[in-house]
C-alpha cells in the first residue's frame, strides 16, 4: 500500500469520489452534511469528476505520468464512510455539548413578523429563543407555537426540543433547545412536534433557557432538512 497510486487506480478513486458527490446531491442525503444551496454544486462537481475520469482514460493525458503519492489512498476513506457507515445527521451528542452557546438572534429569521394570536404558529427553535431574548419576550407572550426538533436531556431529568443550525456545513453546527414542561420525556433523539406556549420570564435577555408549557407532544420522523 506504500506504493504510488497508478493511473487506473487513480481513475477509480476519481470515479468513486465523483459518485459520492453526485449521490449526495441527487438524493436528500446532502442535507445531513451541508447547506441547501450546496446541492447543485455537488451534482455538477460530481458529474465533472466522472467526466474527468473518463476523459483521462480515453485521451492519453501525458506520457510522463506522475504517480500520486500513497496519500491518495486516503480518498477512499470518505467513500467508504459515505457508502458503508452512512452517518446520520448530527444529534443529541452535539446538542449536549453546545446547547444554546450561540446567540439565536443571529441564526433566525427577522422576529418582527407578528405571530397569529388565535391559531398555531410553526416557528424554528432558534426563532423561539430569539423571540424570548428580545424585549422580554413581548412577541411570544400568549401565543401558541409549534416547535419541531429532536429530544435531548440534561442530568437533572429535564428534556428539551432541540434543533441544530448550520451556516456552511455540519462542522459549524450550533445547537438550540427549549425546555419542555408538562409532558413526559420521549426517548433521546426521537423527533417530536411540541405544541404549547412560552412560560413567561424564561430565556429572556437576562439569560437562561426558555421553557415551553406543552399542550401536546407528537412523535414525528426526522425532517427532510435536519438543520434549521
Amino acid at each position: 500500500m506504500g506504493d504510488p497510486v497508478n493511473r487506473t487506480a487513480r481513475a477509480v478513486i476519481l470515479t468513486a469520489i465523483g459518485g459520492v458527490s453526485l449521490r449526495m446531491g441527487a438524493t436528500d442525503e446532502y442535507a445531513n452534511f451541508v447547506n441547501a444551496w450546496m446541492r447543485w454544486p455537488l451534482v455538477v462537481s460530481g458529474a465533472l469528476l466522472l467526466g474527468l475520469a473518463i476523459a483521462a482514460a480515453v485521451t492519453t493525458v501525458s506520457d510522463h505520468d506522475h504517480p500520486a503519492g500513497p496519500v491518495a489512498w486516503l480518498l477512499l476513506l470518505p467513500v467508504v464512510i459515505a457508502f458503508v457507515v452512512q452517518p446520520p445527521a448530527l444529534g443529541a451528542y452535539v446538542a449536549d455539548r453546545r446547547a444554546n452557546d450561540a446567540d439565536a438572534r443571529r441564526y433566525s429569521e427577522p422576529i418582527r413578523v407578528e405571530l397569529d394570536e388565535t391559531g398555531e404558529n410553526a416557528i424554528p427553535v432558534a426563532n423561539f429563543l430569539a423571540r424570548a431574548a428580545t424585549d422580554d419576550g413581548a412577541t411570544l407572550a400568549g401565543v401558541t407555537v409549534r416547535l419541531t426538533g429532536f429530544v435531548s436531556t440534561d442530568k437533572d431529568g429535564g428534556w428539551y426540543v432541540t434543533r441544530l443550525a448550520i451556516s456552511c456545513c455540519a462542522a459549524d453546527a450550533a445547537a438550540f433547545r427549549v425546555r419542555v414542561q408538562g409532558a413526559d420525556a420521549p426517548p433521546v433523539e426521537q423527533g417530536v412536534d411540541v405544541v404549547g406556549t412560552w412560560v413567561e420570564g424564561t430565556g429572556t435577555d437576562a439569560g437562561g433557557t426558555p421553557v415551553i408549557a406543552a399542550d401536546e407532544v407528537t412523535y414525528v420522523d426526522q425532517p427532510k432538512r435536519p438543520y434549521e
Partner: protein, 333 residues
C-alpha cells in the same frame, strides 16, 4: 526522474494490482461493518464521521472549481500575458495580487491549486502566495456573512477586510525581500510540471492540469479533515474560553483554535460571534487566522508546495496573521 518514469511506464502497461486491492477493500467493508458495529454505532464515532464527511463534501465543489480554474489558467494564460498585466517589480505586484483576491468568491480550498498553477505560469511565488492568502478572506461572500453574523457591525467587517489583506501583503513582501537575501527561507517547490503540461491543444492541457491537480489536493484535504473533525468533536469550546480574560493568552488560544478547527471562511464569523467571552480583537484574530492558515490548508500546501516550504510557511503565516489582526483590532475596534 528517468527511473521513476520507467517504473511508472512499466506499471501502467496493465491495470496492475492496485485497482483489485481497492475493489477488495470496498467489498470487504460490508462484512467488516458487522464486526465493527459496536464501534461504528458509538455516538462519538458517528458524530466524527458526520463532521468529517461534511468537511470533505463541502470542499469538493470548491476544490473542483479551483481545479477547473487552475486548468483554465494552464490552458489559456500565457507567461507573456501575466508579465503584461502585473507590475514588473514583485514588491508592487504583491498589493495588486492582494486586491485581486476580492474577485474569487470561494472557500480557501479552491485557491491552493489556483496559486499553484499561477506559479507554474511564471508568477513570482511571493505574488501567488499573497493572492492565495487574500482571496478566501476578503471576497464579498465572506464579508457579507461576517456582516450577518455580527448583526451588521461595519467595524467588524472593515477590520476583517483590512487585517486579512494586510496579512497577505506582509507575507508576500517577506517572500519578496527575504527570498533574495536569506537562502534559508524556502520558496514553494513546484516540481516542474510545466513542461509536461505543454500539450498540443488547450483542451489537452486543461485535462492534463485538472488530472494532475485534483487527486493530491483532495487527498491532503482528507488528511486535514480527519484531524479537524476529531478536534471539532472532542474539544469543547469551553476549554478555550478559560483564558478569555487574558488578552495575550486569548489571542494565542484563538489562533491555535482557528488552526485546528479548520472552518470554512464563510462560516467562521458565526462561530466567532458565539465566542462571547472573548474580546472583539480576539474574535478578529480568529477570523483572520482561519482563512489564511488551518490544518487542512497546511496539509494541502504540503501536497502542492513541498514539505520544506510548508514547515516554514505555516508558522510564519500564523504569527503574522495573529500579530496583524491584534494590531488592527487594537486600532479600530
Amino acid at each position: 526522474m528517468t527511473m521513476e518514469t520507467t517504473t511508472e511506464a512499466r506499471r501502467d502497461q496493465g491495470i496492475g494490482w492496485q485497482p483489485w486491492i481497492m475493489l477488495g477493500l470496498l467489498l470487504a467493508a460490508y462484512p467488516l461493518q458487522g464486526v465493527l458495529a459496536p464501534v461504528l454505532d458509538a455516538a462519538v464515532f458517528q458524530t466524527w464521521a458526520t463532521v468529517f464527511l461534511a468537511i470533505v463534501v463541502q470542499s469538493i465543489p470548491f476544490l473542483v472549481l479551483g481545479v477547473v480554474l487552475s486548468g483554465v489558467i494552464s490552458a489559456l494564460l500565457t507567461e507573456r500575458f501575466v508579465s503584461r498585466v502585473l507590475p514588473r517589480r514583485p514588491a508592487l505586484a504583491v498589493p495588486v495580487a492582494g486586491i485581486a483576491g476580492i474577485a474569487l468568491p470561494t472557500c480557501e480550498c479552491a485557491v491552493v491549486p489556483v496559486a499553484n498553477s499561477l506559479t507554474r505560469r511564471g508568477l513570482p511565488a511571493s505574488v501567488a502566495l499573497t493572492f492565495m492568502l487574500a482571496a478566501p478572506a476578503i471576497n464579498p461572500a465572506v464579508l457579507v456573512s461576517t456582516a450577518v453574523a455580527f448583526s451588521g457591525r461595519v467595524d467588524m467587517v472593515g477590520a476583517r477586510f483590512l487585517a486579512s489583506l494586510l496579512t497577505a501583503m506582509v507575507i508576500g513582501w517577506i517572500y519578496v525581500v527575504a527570498a533574495a537575501r536569506f537562502p534559508a527561507l524556502r520558496l514553494p517547490d513546484i516540481r516542474d510540471r510545466l513542461g509536461h503540461h505543454e500539450g498540443a491543444t488547450p483542451w489537452r492541457r486543461f485535462v492534463a492540469a485538472a488530472w494532475h491537480d485534483f487527486l493530491p489536493a483532495a487527498a491532503f484535504l482528507v488528511l486535514g479533515a480527519i484531524v479537524a473533525a476529531a478536534i471539532n468533536v472532542l474539544l469543547p469550546v469551553r476549554i478555550v474560553e478559560a483564558v478569555a480574560g487574558q488578552p495575550v493568552l486569548a489571542v494565542v488560544a484563538l489562533t491555535a483554535f482557528a488552526f485546528v478547527i479548520a472552518l470554512c471562511s464563510e462560516a467562521d464569523a458565526f462561530v466567532a460571534a458565539s465566542l462571547t467571552a472573548f474580546s472583539d480583537t480576539a474574535k478578529l484574530v480568529f477570523r483572520v487566522v482561519g482563512p489564511a492558515m488551518d490544518i487542512k490548508l497546511a496539509a494541502m500546501e504540503m501536497g502542492q508546495f513541498g514539505r520544506q516550504f510548508t514547515q516554514q510557511f505555516v508558522p510564519l503565516v500564523l504569527v503574522v496573521a495573529a500579530c496583524v489582526a491584534s494590531l488592527v483590532g487594537w486600532v479600530i475596534l
